[in-house]
Chain length 260, copies 2
Amino acid sequence: VENSQHAAVTEIIAFAAELADEARKHSSAYFRNVMEFERKADESPVTIADKAIEGAMRALIEERYPDHGIFGEETGFTAGDGGLWVLDPIDGTKSFLTGMPLYGTLIAYLESSAPLVGVIEMPALAERWIGSPSGTTFNGRVSRTSTCRSVAEARVYTSSPDFFPSPDDWQRFDRLSRMAALRRFGGDCYQYALLASGYCDLVIEASLLPYDFLALVPVVENAGGVITDWGGSPLTVNSGEHVIAAATPWLHEQALRLLG
Amino acid sequence: VENSQHAAVTEIIAFAAELADEARKHSSAYFRNVMEFERKADESPVTIADKAIEGAMRALIEERYPDHGIFGEETGFTAGDGGLWVLDPIDGTKSFLTGMPLYGTLIAYLESSAPLVGVIEMPALAERWIGSPSGTTFNGRVSRTSTCRSVAEARVYTSSPDFFPSPDDWQRFDRLSRMAALRRFGGDCYQYALLASGYCDLVIEASLLPYDFLALVPVVENAGGVITDWGGSPLTVNSGEHVIAAATPWLHEQALRLLG
């Protein structure tokens, strides 16, 4: 059973990489060619590219795994009997809309509601992180978090002060991050990829949705890191919008304490 | 006289590109290999790479133009009789120290205290903007700002709320940028490169030093944009730390009014 399970995961990883190839192809055709944009009700700008990329990935999944479920940012939820694919075609739409190469495509594969395989695909940078029970890779090479154990030594990231809708949440983040070795703003999903490769140590955000964070879980955890909500609970499809990722369990524990 | 002046500028542009090649070579050797960092008194992290890159550029200038002056972030000012080279080996040190490919090298060439040629070199992205009286290029192709005329339609960038030491300055920026189509944090010199290529429309910062902003002037102005201090005055070696760059004169004027 273990061997067949392992074989299945290998197959899923290879297919997730095919999905990322497809996303890279489509988004590269739009990036820096889209000068117009509209606003969604939630103020996040969205482009034609978003829909094209998700549609292309969805078509590949439906062909290959017709019994699987799909949950996409643009096209919503389609129930299935097998695994569940969670897709965010363009994470970092503000980057995408300003020619900034930090947008990514997020692909998560869940079994029994737990994220098993995750992909952070960075089309404009030609960089890809894949996390699975076999480990985390960055462009095919083993990727590990740093050994940072304390906030005082940590390099901290968050996307934007604008993504802390609650002033109290902002104050908690602000206080903690001012104790750190450095803090930098701007990065969306790429921050977690940097963490999985040991380039930063702590990422804290307060307004992520399931399609934003589920793919991050296998990438961070299988690189040696810890990623949970602000209460320390595992991230699931039902988690709230608060995410904290740390390079080590010690750093995670200290950061949770300082946040709370 | 006009022809000989033009020939001289062409020579300066070619030499500035050589300096950028040198910077790219050195910084690529350090990027993502530097895991340790120290803090300077001003809290900006600095690396061995900073000094290596500036030293290499300085050596090339001293060999080629022994009568020129040099002002570098790391090694300070060396007086000369001819033109003046202003160098920032690594702009965006927080990016550099966190594996984020948004750090750049800035090279400005001034005659009679006016910035004539500017280079924004992005080593990890293999992207380079060169601005001169001949125009602005992005990897060798003509680069132009957008046609955006109003703040309401503008895509606004700034590096970080942490780079507004005065609460009043932050409030002025905050108020203005909330009227814009979108605002995004994080980018340092790259923001001005994006503006010069029409990908964003307005960049506003409050803590830049001459080696941070002098190279930006020829890049932005020769792409069709306007770059000044917050009072609308041209940027010189004696300017203060407030910089505003806009895609068009109309946008610049409106933004100055809203800031003030």
